[in-house]
């Protein structure tokens, strides 16, 4: 068995807003008919969270479901459970038109935690992060600086950010610089 490590091996940038690489996480890209009862049920069974509506996300620790597009949902599970989860999806959706791929090792995950975490993200993404517009339970796919990323709020002061593993170092540096530059005081 190979020794699997995450891109930045849990690197932390402490501060008023702390940026932390969260290590390995199981992620499965599942495309198919999101209104299918079978598809929703297997997603709920694997993660224990509610199936998200348009633009929504639900997460609990390492587990979660995120709406990625009208025909795509991201299934998150602990890293070691990703391969068995793909097998479980394939068994549950046999006969349906779908695609399930284990993308765990193509991704990096970060938390951005602190009082002005909202502004740390807002400085980097062309998305409206006003508290009235972006709230817990929403998933946003956009970019941070020059790279594609997605984020959601775990609680009022914590964002979870995902990006491609190949740009993990850039994303970490970007979040660290944005956090280190301090609060803007606008949001």
């Amino acid at each position: 068995m190979s020794n699997v490590v995450s891109a930045l091996d849990g690197q932390v940038a402490p501060g008023e807003v702390t940026v932390r690489e969260l290590g390995l996480r199981g992620m499965i890209t599942l495309r198919g008919d999101l209104s299918s009862r079978k598809l929703q049920n297997i997603c709920k069974k694997l993660t224990g969270v509610a199936f998200p509506k348009q633009g929504g996300v639900a997460s609990e620790g390492d587990k979660g479901l995120a709406w990625m597009s009208p025909d795509e949902v991201l299934v998150m599970v602990p890293h070691a459970e990703a391969a068995p989860a793909v097998a479980a999806i394939e068994a549950a959706l046999k006969g349906e038109h779908f695609l399930a791929v284990n993308v765990s090792d193509a991704r990096a995950v970060f938390s951005v935690q602190g009082a002005f975490s909202r502004e740390v993200i807002a400085k980097l993404a062309p998305a409206d992060l006003h508290p009235d517009r972006f709230k817990e339970g929403m998933m946003r796919r956009t970019r941070l600086g020059q790279v594609a990323a997605a984020f959601w709020m775990v609680d009022e002061e914590t964002f979870c950010v995902i990006c491609f593993r190949s740009v993990a170092e850039y994303t970490f540096g970007l979040l660290k610089a944005s956090a280190g530059a301090g609060e803007v005081g606008y949001l």
Binding site: Q54, M68, S69, P70, A127, R140, R141, R143, A148
Partner: protein
């Protein structure tokens, strides 16, 4: 700066998260058409100063293509709608006419 609402995600998306795909509602001329028709389909575009229908892809988001009606001079957006639409929807045409009374559907 141009901001369009992705009809699939329901969120307002900045131009830098999108990829432009040129004029919308083109009629395709392929095998069996005349050379002139094929030439026009490939190369001839409206390019108006004013109301324009365009294809856009939410490339940094859901990845889907959608259509938008906007003014090329003011960047005012009249509406966005799914790509599986062969002509501008009634509500978009009405929104344009409310702002541009002299505008006519081509």
């Amino acid at each position: 700066m141009l901001i369009l609402r992705c009809p699939y995600c329901g969120v307002d998306v900045d131009e830098t998260d999108l990829h432009g795909g040129g004029e919308a509602h083109l009629k395709r001329f392929g095998p069996g058409s005349t050379d002139d028709e094929f030439h026009d389909y490939l190369f001839m575009r409206e390019n108006p100063k004013g109301v324009h229908f365009e294809r856009w892809q939410h490339s940094y988001g859901c990845g889907k293509w959608f259509l938008a009606a906007r003014c090329t001079a003011t960047l005012e957006v009249f509406g966005t709608y799914p790509a599986q639409t062969t002509e501008p929807p009634k509500e978009v045409v009405e929104a344009i006419k409310a702002k541009r009374p002299n505008w006519e559907v081509l």
